[in-house]
């Protein structure tokens, strides 16, 4: 495991460097082509972060390359700054440009974000073209061959080596982040923003980080390659360059950094290899991209892995790994955050409410979805919430977990008002949830889903954890053990490495529960945990939830339409109808309540 982990991280760098070594056997022209290819591989890898992982469309790649190229060339040409220093400066400048682009940009998604990147692209090129005094404008800026520690990299072979070495170096941190927590978080954001936020991922900061990192690396690639062009001009970094670069990860494959890397390397070399067809290349390129989107939506990478990777044996939906230990043994594994004392739950001190909802109201236009709802959830108990469709249950959940703001009222968690606690921070207080539509992150493996459930997803934490994962440190191992313990607890240990999207609905619900318990929360909000699952699976899930409650002392609030399930699970039930609480009490009493029956059957005096 450890060896393959290290391989995952170093392989792209080794591949790039090996490519440059192998290139020494080629002629000078092909060495030049290979250098172009390696540079495009770096660009493709950087774009994998934005395009494949965060699924944002950027057409500012050309601008970032230009910023890197001019950012390194100008200090060298005008100020005689050493090449490597200028390279560092250009990389930092690229990161800054990414920040300037992303801070306003991430307020938008999809086409509007694409437009902002387009604007950025256009403005950068216009500025470069206009500042003739500094950049030489459209006539171009001649650049000398790079000099490092006195050695002049002027021949194609020398330059190829330099390019291969620097490129290998610069993609390493990128791969660490992509393969680590940050990359997983970005994919979680792309899969489901609400779920990502509920587990502590600050979406905008993650997207900004993605733009900063990827822009810095693209700028660096631009800076490395610029001297080889001898002369650079703004228009070769125009909109067309950006759009062609966008194709790298799309054609190469969106499933891993390799897609962008190989896609970039191959697509950049194609025009040189297919010289005789040069006129038709651009058109072929466009056809290739559109055909990829239509026929291989994940790019060629996923086509290849899908064809050659050993397909996991299809398991019966009922097949489930038996937990190897009692649930309270898991807690020592899961309790890596030291968030709670490891002890079996104490007496259910029924007087202390862990969650106090008072007077919560939420309206959408004239529709009052939740109207002055108040109830307490006692610590370590299971509290049911039932009611007909449109009663406001999920809206209430979204208010408690922080995805929606209430118009009035207050939610107290263990005595602390939650008004000013953003949704991303609530998991750290000890609150987690599941979603009505089983919001697993379908492109990630089960164990990665659960790792996100740990809630250690501040942008800084995610970056540090990425490094830990790459180094396979003790901490990373402990996290993984915790995730495996949680998977084991729900009976999914045997499917840990499979994609969450391939699970049956019942298993996806189990995975959601694993993700919700791994942080050892004090309360879990479960939104329709058994809707759509078979009777047997529902019974299994009930046993699981009861055990988690009994042995971990985790409190729960459960929305469910399946009333017998709710009655057999809960210590107490509140019933909502038309945004109000219409009954609350012991399950058996509530179900026989006249008002409740009326809400469900509609036993109104209509025939009168």
């Amino acid at each position: 495991m450890s060896r393959t982990g290290a391989l995952r991280v170093f392989a792209p760098s080794l591949f790039v460097f090996a490519l440059s070594i192998a290139g020494l056997l080629l002629g000078s022209y092909w060495q030049y082509v290979l250098a172009l290819s390696i540079s495009a591989a770096v660009i493709g890898t950087a774009l994998a972060m934005i395009v494949s992982y965060a699924r944002c469309i950027t057409i500012a790649t050309g601008a970032m390359l230009a910023i890197g190229a001019y950012g390194a060339a100008l200090p060298v040409v005008r100020l005689d700054v050493p090449f490597l220093v200028a390279l560092l400066f250009a990389t930092a400048l690229g990161g800054l440009a990414g920040l300037i682009l992303a801070v306003p940009g991430v307020r938008f998604r999809s086409h509007n974000l694409a437009m902002v990147t387009f604007v950025f692209q256009a403005v950068v090129i216009i500025v470069l073209r206009q500042s003739k005094g500094l950049t030489g404008g459209a006539e171009g800026l001649p650049i000398p061959a790079p000099v490092v520690f006195g050695f002049r990299f002027s021949s194609d072979a020398d330059f190829l080596l330099l390019c291969g070495f620097l490129s290998a170096l610069v993609i390493l941190p990128l791969i660490v982040l992509l393969e680590g927590a940050l990359g997983k978080n970005l994919r979680a954001v792309a899969a489901n923003e609400s779920a990502a936020r509920a587990f502590g991922i600050n979406v905008n900061r993650h997207l900004i980080a993605a733009f900063v990192w990827s822009s810095a690396v693209i700028a660096c690639a631009g800076a490395i390659m610029a001297p080889r062009y001898r002369i650079i001009d703004p228009d070769s970094y125009g909109i067309l360059a950006s759009i062609l670069a966008l194709a790298y990860p799309i054609v190469g494959g969106m499933g891993s950094p390799w897609g962008g890397l190989v896609g970039g390397a191959v697509l950049r070399a194609l025009p040189e290899v297919l010289r005789p067809l040069a006129d038709y290349l651009e058109l072929m390129f466009c056809i290739l991209v559109v055909a990829t989107i239509i026929f291989f939506p994940g790019g060629f990478g996923s086509f290849v892995t899908g064809t050659f990777r050993r397909k996991p044996a299809k398991l019966e939906t009922s097949a489930r790994s038996e937990p190897r230990r009692a649930v309270h043994d898991f807690i020592s594994d899961m309790n890596i955050l030291g968030r709670r004392e490891v002890r079996p739950p104490q007496d259910r001190s029924r007087s202390t409410p862990i969650l106090r909802i008072s007077g919560v109201t939420k309206s959408y236009g004239a529709l009052r979805a939740v109207s002055h709802v108040s109830f307490d959830v006692t610590a370590q108990t299971i509290h049911g919430l039932m009611g007909p469709n449109g009663a406001g249950k999920t809206t209430l959940f979204n208010i408690v977990s922080g995805l929606n703001a209430s118009d009035e009222g207050q939610v107290l968690f263990d005595g602390t008002p939650l008004d000013d606690v953003p949704v991303e921070s609530r998991i750290k207080l000890g609150m987690s949830r599941t979603f009505q539509h089983a919001a697993v992150f379908d492109k990630l493996s089960c164990v990665d889903n659960v790792l996100i459930g740990l809630g250690l997803n501040d942008i800084w934490q995610a970056s540090v954890r990425s490094v830990h994962m790459a180094m396979h440190s003790q901490r990373a191992r402990a996290e993984r053990k915790a995730a495996m313990a949680a998977l084991d607890a729900v009976g999914l240990a045997h499917r840990a490495r499979e994609g969450a999207g391939s699970l049956s609905l019942g298993d996806q619900r189990r995975l959601e529960i694993a993700r919700a318990i791994v942080s050892c929360p004090r309360i879990i909000l479960l939104d329709e945990p058994v809707s759509g699952v078979s009777v047997e699976e529902a019974a299994g899930l009930r046993e699981l939830l009861l055990r988690i409650n009994r042995e971990l002392g985790t409190g729960m609030v459960v929305i469910e339409h399946n009333i017998s399930f709710l009655v057999s699970l809960c210590n107490r039930i509140s019933v909502m109808s038309d945004g109000r609480i219409i009954a609350e009490g012991d399950p058996d009493v509530v179900v026989n309540d006249a008002l409740v029956r009326r809400a469900y059957f509609g036993e109104r005096e209509i025939s009168a």
Binding site: L505, Q508, I563, S564, Y600, E603, I606
Partner: protein
Amino acid sequence: MILQVSNLRVTAGPMIRVDNLDLTLEERGCLALLGPNGAGKTASVEAIIGLIPKSSGRVTFDGLDISSLPASSVVRMGLSLVPQLRELFPGFTVDETLLAGANAAGRRKAGSRDHIYDLFPRLAERRHQFAGSLSGGEQQMLAISRALMSNPKVILLDEPSAGLAVGIVRSFIDVVRQIRATGVAILLVEQNLEIASALAENCIVMAAGRVVWRGSADDAINNEEIRRAYFA
């Protein structure tokens, strides 16, 4: 019979929403489809009309197999749906909504707006108001009117009473009776047993995607089995 459904199965991803549903609706008849939340009633009618895909099963309407037709073609043949969420066009006036509804008549003769305004005087008063500005009850009337504009032979009514005040429900029952009197057959989806028994002769009770009870509407109201379906 005007509408026959056999062996209908609807799935959504890994989830089975409707399993093995059979039903028959007689000409001019009224059949109620009952059941608690999540029983698969809405999925059933949406699959019947072709709004969501069926994984298997056969639907015959007026002697023709419509199983694989898209909803836009089915409604033109005279099978209309009044959806649970009404699906109105907020920026259309009442009048314009009815004109859009008349489009579903296709080559058949469309309903007349005057007739609709006789049936719903409230809508006549508001004919130049935007659909989005109407009250819930008025929106429901408009949704039914839009379906009626295509002169359908069968209307699928999906939980028409949901969210309506008691007084409106009563007048709404009268309206449905009037529509039936004109010869339109109705498949009524309801949670509310009493409304169903006030309108339908026969009913089918679903739970968790399957049919759990069939029988006459009068028997349904005090049947313990149905009560269990709701609370189990």
